[in-house]
């Protein structure tokens, strides 16, 4: 991890301003929801684990769920000076780490997390301009506030910027 980079843990979220950057390590079935405002250069990153806070009674940690985490992220970004109408999103993660052939919903949590993330961003009118989701491997991501570039690093599956 580079110095000055803010670490976002599992079921956690944070926001920063240029020249800052945010990172979260080893996204598996979780999703890294990255949102940025290209003009004010405010960026936010959430590491969500589950699709829907309403489906679960133990939902006090807002950063754990796609719906509540995204809402909180936007709120925090606006507070830092972002304009809600300019926000753009990129998402990464949502892998299926274990190749269970079953159609068991629990085992497809990665896909469900991705769908839920898309749905909540659509609801908030934030366009998704890039995604790197699915497959069966982990991803470490870095979000840079200056231009919203989203660096994705993997073990054995290359590195790319979306």
């Amino acid at each position: 991890m580079k110095p000055g980079m803010i670490l976002v843990g599992m079921a956690d979220l944070n926001v920063t301003k240029a020249p800052g950057a945010l990172t979260t390590l080893g996204l598996g079935s979780c999703i890294g929801i990255a949102i940025f405002d290209p003009i004010s250069k405010v960026a936010g990153l959430a590491h969500i684990m589950l699709p829907d806070s309403r489906a679960i009674s133990n939902n006090s940690n807002v950063a754990k769920f796609a719906d509540t985490a995204t809402a909180k992220l936007v709120f925090d970004m606006v507070k830092m000076g972002a304009d809600r109408k300019r926000l753009k999103a990129k998402i990464a993660g949502g892998a299926q780490m274990f190749a269970f052939s079953s159609t068991n919903d629990n085992m497809q949590i990665g896909r469900r997390n991705a769908e839920a993330s898309r749905a909540v961003l659509k609801l908030l009118n934030i366009p998704i301009i890039a995604e790197d989701v699915g497959e069966n491997y982990g991803r470490t991501v870095e979000l840079y506030a200056d231009d919203g570039r989203y660096l994705i690093k993997t073990i054995g599956h290359g590195q790319r910027v979306i």
Binding site: G9, M10, A11, D12, L25, G26, L27, G28, S29, C30, M49, L50, I56, N58, N61, K64, A95, M97, F98, A99, F100, S102, N104, N106, M107, I109, N136, Y137, G138, R139, T140, I155
Partner: protein, 206 residues
Amino acid sequence: MKDKKIDSIVEEHVDILKEIASIGCGNAVTALSSLLNRRVKMSVPVVNMLDFKDVSNCIGGAENIIAGVLVGLSGDINGIMMFIVDEDIAHRFVDMLLGKPTEPHDGFSEIEYSALTEVGNILTSSYLSSLASLTRTTINQSVPQLSIDMANAILSVPAIEFGKVGDKVLFIESVFETDTENVSGYFILVPDMPSFEVIFKSLGVM
């Protein structure tokens, strides 16, 4: 029960879970010993309820490469169980099993991959058979699946499963010792909420 958070219920009864872990790991070590055809000793397993954000710190950090063997549980107890080892230790397990000298190498061949899956399968199933007989329940185990990747990515699977009921995960560390080396492996047991009730009720604590 319904209103009480699973974290606090589990914390109250952590001694029982420790005892189960100890017996389960003991059984697993016996199986490992006959699998490797050498003496294997085990220290008393360390059982912790950890915040899931801290789990990866116990196994070398979020981006450390680990091997995880995952099995699904069904029957009286539903949930998942996982056996985890560091990549280097996974190599040593496989080399011992295949009777090869241990030398550093990258990646796993197909035979090594299935050997490692089998190690995980045998260890988890011997652990689970102890749990089943202690709780007088029937536990069916799915076909094991192996994944080798960043620790956080692999741990996200049990963390998500447990994240539905709590913010902590039951983490069991056991150190195995053979004649020549120490290898530590980890078990993560994630029963769903009703299964916790089944376990505690069958042990007479609820």
